[in-house]
Point group: C2
Chain length 212, copies 2
């Protein structure tokens, strides 16, 4: 561990932060792979490289750990959502949002997979969050899209269907990453391949709604 002399408990605080981060990262991965019920605290401890009792020392229960990670994933999702503002230029906004979501899938695939698990099993823990924070955001974005349609800036498409298409397509690169890898001759997409995919996704969707 750190050899730097501690001042005012900084060392103990650093120990806590380092261990918590290690456990959170391990847990995100294990929950992403197996879902809440399928994940074991033994496996999380193993990946985090700490004794199982330590997981419980820092996070009282498996569920507490799970909720903590989901909050973090939601915060990250919100950052991408913020790129979708009320600008007058739909092509610019939609391009920015799709790219932000694609990038999120690229840099944090486990978070997306964890979310997918959560939704697939019925959104047991996140139902309220989805029906409030996420739904309010979605409904307000749908109003913005409707405004663009009314102003003749884009085709008259059903806005919810468009948003679901964007969610689905962008998260696919995280959730079904392994399948895409198998299709790519068992190799992860290179940065170039991913950039090309991103550009094609943006292009097809923008043209699909009359913006390119």
């Amino acid at each position: 561990m750190s050899t730097k002399p501690a001042v005012n408990g900084a060392h103990k605080a650093a120990i806590r932060q380092e261990n918590e981060e290690q456990i959170l990262a391990a847990a995100e991965r294990v929950f992403a792979d197996f879902g809440f019920k399928g994940a074991t605290t033994a496996r999380i401890a193993e990946i985090a490289n700490v004794p199982k009792a330590n997981v419980h020392y820092y996070f009282s229960t498996k569920e507490a750990l799970y909720r903590r990670i989901m909050e973090d994933v939601c915060d990250h999702w919100l950052e991408a959502a913020m790129t979708f503002d009320n600008s007058a230029d739909p092509a610019f906004i939609l391009r920015g949002y799709i790219e932000a979501k694609m990038d999120l899938s690229r840099v944090r695939p486990y978070g997306s997979r964890l979310w997918a698990h959560e939704i697939i099993r019925g959104a047991k823990f996140s139902s309220e969050y989805i029906s409030t924070t996420v739904k309010n955001w979605l409904d307000s974005r749908v109003e913005v899209i409707r405004g663009w349609i009314d102003e003749g800036k884009m085709d008259d498409v059903e806005p919810y269907t468009l948003m679901y298409m964007i969610f689905a397509t962008t998260q696919h690169y995280a959730d079904f990453g392994r399948q895409i890898e198998i299709f790519n001759n068992d190799k992860p997409l290179t940065d170039a391949q991913f950039a090309e995919a991103k550009e094609n996704v943006v292009r097809i969707i923008l043209k699909g709604v009359g913006l390119a």
Copy 2:
């Protein structure tokens, strides 16, 4: 049970078929909700309305049951895949394929979710199937799309990206069905809403690749 007199073991055969179907349906649902590891044989038995020992009487292990259902889901997927043939008319073929996939999500959401679980956790059981049957089919369809592009029938898009977009968008209605339901004021999509979504998905994608 059936009161019809049996002839040549038909009754016993009917018992087996009925019980197997019940267990398979229950298992598909439980595996869809919780994934392989998170699902329990006790839960499957409960949903199937049979004693747990009966599950093992008909399917030796949990894994045998899981593999059996996955084979079935793959067969079903293949049926939709068959709509994508070598026709000269890309708009017609893509529309047919997208619609078949959307319908599959509508009539068999658990199968799609089970598949999603399988892929999210790394395609542990299905890796070979994906890298052979599915990949060969995908690669051959990509060649067909390239042919259409070469003939100037559609835009020069990256065919794999297009196929992933179709997979993602159509399966979203099954895998993230709960989220969509929450966004729909906690009500499942009506048939009319689903038909509208399907039409919009087809329209956006076809236009997005220069086919509408």
